[in-house]
Amino acid sequence: MSPVDTRSLSIAEAARLIARGELSPIELVDAHLERISTTDDRLNSFITVLEPQARSAAEKAETRIRSGQPIGPLHGIPIGLKDLYYTKGVRTTIGSSIMGGFVPDYDATVVSRFLDAGAIIIGKLQMHEFASGATSANIHHGPARNPWDTERVSGGSSGGSGTGVAAGQVMAALGTDTGGSVRIPAALCGIVGLKPTFGRISRHGVYPLSWSFDTVGPMTRTVRDTALVMNVIAGHDPNDPYSSRQPTPDFTETLGRGVDGLRVGIPREHFFEILDPGCESAMREGVKVLEGLGASVEEVSIPLLENILSIGQAISGPEAAEIHLENLRHNVEEMDPQVSSRLAAGLLEPAIYYVRAQRARRAFNRQVAAAFESVDVLLTPAAPIPAPKIGQEVSTVRGEEHSTLQILARMTRPFNVSGSPTITVPCGFSSDGLPFGLQIAGRMFDEGTVLRAAYAYEQATGWHTRRPPI
């Protein structure tokens, strides 16, 4: 086989080649380690590169193939983990200096599932400190940089995951999504990011930010690869009290069924109020593509979307503050002041507002469920702006100035409140070459339809085949 192009080889293709003996796991891992060594000084995707461990795992994977032993669906596939997944014997920083010496003595459930499937963990990825922020501008480890323009953020909080996948340093990465932290970096880096239904994937061994929002999510370069990763990591885990017992389907099974007859809803409220014209244009074009493939499109109303950011903040603020109360009491001077002040704001909320917001959340979820009686998926932009510059605190949208951090999660947060499965796929580029993302949300536990719509769109457009210049 010709030298591996780590930027374009899909997991589906690599797994097929490995199973046939036409691609060696050693060759594949070496190619990715080489890619990391030649690019990460400019991208800063990694907090820890596990080079010796990855090479050793690749040799074992190679031996297993040569000896004719059965192999898993991700055998020899190099992956990365946001640095808040517990990895036995490997430093796990949560993006903070406070946790710098923390070495878990067990693997997160999803890490065990990856290893059981034959995947090779190549490193731990950059993130916003404690996952509390949407840019991954990390004062302790430096910012994760966007491979489409290294002067810009990759989004967050799973920024290293977005950069690493887009730049071909890893074939897949895991992020976590509390307010959009899988989908924002996926959109800003031009890759696929899925926030599955709340409860679909175990959070055991995943450092929390907000117990009722946190969701594990895969990030890949294609929709099929996301489905393949979902097949490995989804499913009930008794170690996570909020892990669902819903049956786990084969997520690749329905990918190719097309969208003829699919009912697509465009929410009337919220999503188009603060939106870069380029992002809106790309999203509207995406709607036309799905219409052209046979989907029907209608406007839907979800009135509580008008209040959804406040509902979300009133819930996530106290949840995050409670998790970090001891850090705020004893380690606050070691934290990024932006992060500590954001967390501390949650201390100030009286309990009555938290409970009231959780009531409002139930009301919102009923409205979302009612919308899904008339449509199969909801379509929105994935981010209101393309990737901002590193350190850019204010973003101007249609002549009005907004806090960059506050608006980045505008499009994604509503589906953390509802818990709905939601994906972003690349849907175009700005005039200066920055990616846009199309967001598709579905009914609870209906990742199959979300993936099917995303796959149909991806195959019809080909945006996912563009590669960053680095």
Partner: protein
């Protein structure tokens, strides 16, 4: 931190945080003020929601959907 030198809202915020054992350095207090104002705006908005058609005990629980 010298609380008496802070503007009134800062004093209130500092006192609320201190009640939970959290004492922020002055630079973090300055950053906390806009965050606290955003949180207060969210609380005010949530307070104003009309939830009368939803039973008072109908509170969201993860996994209950």
């Amino acid at each position: 931190m010298n609380e008496t030198s802070q503007p009134e809202p800062m004093n209130e915020i500092a006192a609320a945080a201190a009640a939970l054992g959290v004492r922020l350095p002055s630079v973090q207090m300055e950053m906390l003020l806009p965050q606290a104002q955003a949180a207060a705006k969210a609380m005010c908005e949530v307070d104003g929601l009309d939830l009368t058609e939803f039973p008072p005990a109908d509170v969201y629980l993860p996994g209950g959907e």
